[in-house]
Amino acid sequence: MSREVSAEDRATLAALADVLIPAGQGAPSASEAGAAGPWLDEVLRLRPDLGEPLAAILAAARGAEPAAAVAGLQAEQPAAFDALAAVVAGAYFLHPEVSRAIGYPGQQRRPIVPEEPPDFEQDGLLASVLARGPIYRPTPGREP
């Protein structure tokens, strides 16, 4: 699929996308978040491999009832469904407001701060493991 997605295809995708991700809990629906608009373009720029399967899905779903089209894909074409889900969710989560709404700041740099005592020693956490003693079968002839 070229990066120029037609208005008709965007409308088809918007309807399918909102079946997958409706609005709720203070978060927008997929189409409200631009998952068939600018963030779709960003997904296809970042993941051009998704363009072809998406084009096939949209061609097949044109004019169909969206919920039935999604259910049909899920039941009969799991690989195509996964591609649709990747496009829709991929676009949705790119939107900064969505990240804020779901409380996901992205992966962050969190240096390991040495603790004293280290966490595995706190509250005697390892004591019962150590008290139980060895759990391995020794090499025959090398038994302690």
Partner: protein, 543 residues
């Protein structure tokens, strides 16, 4: 006739493959004064494409760092025909090999792993023991930069890794406390992840991105820990150079390899000694590709076992959902802790052998919507989307279960009669079927792992659906042993049929253990190459 290229006189040693075992061998050989050339079909990893911390991290990483060569289809890859395989092979063809994308779970094998026949009456013993390998484990753990804690009760006492373990994190602490209540083993996770600045490694900052190219330089992958050292010490590493076949002289000695450069031109690289480090599929593929009139079944294959006994570790995953925010999109990936509670054989369970469990994070929001590990029958989509998303995101933890599969000669790598790579070299073809023992083993461990997470407070547990794309560990296809009729190489990796040909990768494993294999692959390579160095005066070389 292939052109001769450079390197006159020929080097002492040709290494095929720049992954874990090749890297270990190259560094030691260079230190001992050997002249070494390594041919690697792929390229250096491009860490500018490691995207942790960027908005597109989850969206792009799975494609950029795809683990399946058939999906990735990069210039360094070759096709693997796997329509007759229950598991598909995963690998990274480039400098660093699988360590570029491995989870860095650094597991020694246990003493019983080397004595499966003696202890369980099945499969085979290894030609050496845990005690023989132990000093080499200690040394490779220093060379790589491993973190963990000595004294694990699942192993004989001895020296531990050089750095303290990664944090347990909230999810690890919950599970540790649960195992204490259950009386089950756990131990802080051993990982090839630097928890302090260490040599060429930076300290981990817990991106939880280990599987998609560590952007921090904290995960010990041999493109970072070994190859810069090897090349500084004079090893010639030729990237994007694919070996087509090995050269065999009239005396039956291997004389090097024919390889194809990036432009498709053929060359010969001669060497006194050749070491294959091309993984459990690449190595038998090369031996089979090197068949000739005198060796119609392939090189070093008088036993008929080249390519047979393929083991790939069936993989189980169990996820738990918790009320508490565990922050579980961050951490190491990597393992916070491991459990070997059910590792040893217990005949009352109805199967032999066992599995290791590693406790892992579950990723960001896109991972929370994926059909693995959550399962297609456990949908997130539709009216409940936001509730389900919030239940999974940051509030879940995952056991990864490495299940031991036993060697079967019918599980094998052959050459594909139809498909070939871009240079016309036949593709590898897999035939691999899960055994009944493996199915029972995985089911048992999944059930126990659910109990573990439930005891840790999970209000719901999910057993991930079986997927084929879990063949991380490629083992057994050039088995080592003492009997030339029942094995391909000896305990030093030397081919019984060809005294100057060696295999150092996971192909040599007689049994697969239930562990992530890199620690043992590295320790084996170090032990084998030091034997080669020590006995250099007795080593026959190609003229």
């Amino acid at each position: 006739m292939a052109a001769e290229k450079g390197f006159e006189p020929p080097p002492d040693v040709l290494i095929v493959g720049a992954g874990a075992s090749g890297a270990v061998a190259a560094v030691r050989l260079a230190e001992a004064g050997f002249r070494v050339v390594c041919l690697e079909q792929g390229d250096w990893p491009d860490y500018s494409r490691a995207r942790a911390g960027q908005p597109d991290f989850e969206l792009t990483s799975g494609a950029t760092w795809a683990w399946d060569p058939n999906v990735r289809n990069a210039p360094g890859d070759y096709p693997v025909e796997e329509s007759e395989s229950d598991i598909t092979a995963l690998m990274w063809n480039g400098v660093g090999g699988g360590t570029v994308v491995y989870a860095a779970h650094w597991q020694r094998s246990m003493p019983s792993d080397f004595r499966v026949r003696s202890l369980d009456g099945i499969a085979d013993d290894w030609p050496f023991t845990y005690e023989d390998l132990e000093p080499f484990y200690v040394r490779v753990e220093r060379d790589w930069g491993v973190s963990g804690l000595a004294g694990d009760t699942a192993f004989p006492p001895g020296e531990g890794p050089p750095m303290p373990p990664v944090p347990l994190s909230r999810l690890g602490r919950r599970v540790a406390e649960a195992h204490n209540r259950l009386g089950w083993h756990w131990w802080p996770g051993p990982n090839a992840i630097a928890t302090r600045p260490y040599g060429r490694l930076s300290a981990c900052v817990q991106w939880a991105a280990c599987l998609w190219g560590c952007p921090e330089g904290a995960k010990a992958s041999v493109d970072r820990t070994h190859w810069p050292v090897a090349t500084e010490r004079g090893v010639t590493l030729l990237t994007r150079c694919r070996v087509r076949r090995l050269l065999v002289g009239p005396d039956g000695l291997v004389e090097g390899a024919v390889y194809v450069d990036p432009d498709g031109a053929e060359h010969q690289q001669r060497a006194a000694v050749t070491i294959l480090c091309a993984n459990g599929i690449g190595t038998p593929r090369l031996l089979l590709l090197s068949a000739d009139d005198r060796r119609p079944d392939g090189l070093a294959n008088s036993s008929g076992l080249v390519g047979r006994r393929l083991m790939m570790h069936p993989f189980g995953t169990v996820v738990g959902l918790f009320e508490e925010d565990l922050g579980s999109w961050q951490g190491v990936w990597g393992q916070h802790l491991h459990s070997l509670e059910f590792y040893e054989t217990d005949a009352s369970r109805g199967f032999a052998r066992g599995a290791k469990w590693g406790l892992q994070p579950t990723g960001g929001p896109l991972s929370a919507t994926a059909s693995f590990p959550w399962g297609p029958e456990n949908p997130i989509w539709g009216p409940g989307f936001h509730e389900r998303l919030r239940a999974r995101l940051g509030r879940s933890a995952m056991w990864g279960i490495i299940a031991e599969d036993l060697p079967e000669e019918a599980n094998r790598v052959t050459l594909d009669p139809l498909r070939s790579d871009r240079f016309g070299i036949p593709a590898a073809r897999l035939r691999y079927r899960l055994s009944e023992n493996s199915r029972r083993l995985v089911a048992f461990h999944q059930a126990r792992a659910r109990e573990s997470l439930a005891a840790a407070g999970a209000y719901e547990t999910v057993v991930a659906p079986f997927i084929r794309a879990t063949g991380w560990h490629l083992l057994g296809t050039a088995v080592m042993g003492e009997d030339p009729e029942r094995s391909v190489v000896d305990q030093w990796g030397r081919a019984h049929d060809v005294p100057n040909l060696f295999v150092y990768d996971g192909s040599v494993w007689p049994t697969s253990s239930g562990m992530n294999p890199t620690a043992t692959i590295a320790a084996f390579a170090l032990r084998a190459v030091e034997h080669l160095i020590e006995h250099r005066r007795d080593q026959r070389g190609a003229p």
